[in-house]
Amino acid sequence: MGEKPLTLYGQALASRMLLGTARYDSPSVLVDAIAAADPAMLTVSVRRQAGVAGRTFWNLLRESGRTILPNTAGCLSAQEAVKTACLARELFDTKRIKLEVIGDEVNLQPDPFGLVDAAIELVRLGFQVFPYCTEDWVVCRRLLDAGCEVLMPWAAPIGTGQGPRNPRALRELRDHLPTVPMIVDAGIGLPSHACQVMEWGFDGVLLNTAVSRALDPVKMASAFADAIRSGRAGFKAGPMISQDIATSSTPEIGRPFTLDSTAPAEAPMLTSP
């Protein structure tokens, strides 16, 4: 019997991957990457520019049949993020919002104070908030207090592809909140990074640049899909506890060319006639 699907805000998801739609070389590459990744959701943004590319993009989103998760990317204050979220709700006709409040324009680190303020207001306005946050345990607790039903801690700054920079804190966060759905968002660069966080028990992964800027984005989308499934299966299988001291996996008993002291009594003895 299969595992129960990941459920976020009451919606059961068919996959544990969320995929960003930015920085692909062409719309057709994005379409093929979506097919290869089979993501549960696609992240999008709201911007002033549209044009011909905008129309193509809209049709592509509709034809993908995927759940749309608009973001507040680039917002530098809680107020700006709330206003952007309201525009996204009107534009995409959805209550879901990937909440980004950026506190530093160099490393794009979330602003924990603005994030919590915006989450409180957006929950009050009826949004389903998916907050992009750091792995800080207290910030995460405040986001849950605000009414967020999912957390999206970063692995590393957006677009860096560095993989988990603070594994210990990420794992402690997972241990502190074993039942809260958590999607690792941002900073994943390799399928092994995605597999790693899934093995630690995170519920899903949100990717963009690692796929879109790969030499072959479609192949990479497929590799990530395999890695995420594999990591999840590894977590569910219950990994062994790592040990400080080596233990031979092959039995010592009966090893040839040794003194016979470890041979079991019932072992057949070779004797001269």
Binding site: L30, S45, A50, R55, F57, W58, L91
Partner: protein
């Protein structure tokens, strides 16, 4: 009168509505609009009377991560 549309100063006849402005600008579908930082629901465009100096934002779906 003048309003700003996505940060650009735009001339409009007096007593214009948001619907009138949108006919003039003809933004690509789909779009959403905010007037003075408040979203205007699409069913209210005809009733939304613009005032001189209003700041209008018109946004579209875009790629994002």
């Amino acid at each position: 009168m003048f309003v700003t549309v996505n940060g650009q100063k735009t001339s409009l006849p007096e007593l214009s509505t948001l619907a009138g402005l949108l006919r003039q600008v003809a933004p690509a579908f789909p779009f959403a609009v905010a007037r003075n930082e408040e979203v205007v629901p699409r069913e209210s465009y005809e009733q939304c009377r613009l005032q001189p100096g209003d700041a209008i934002e018109i946004v579209h779906p875009a790629a994002g991560g």
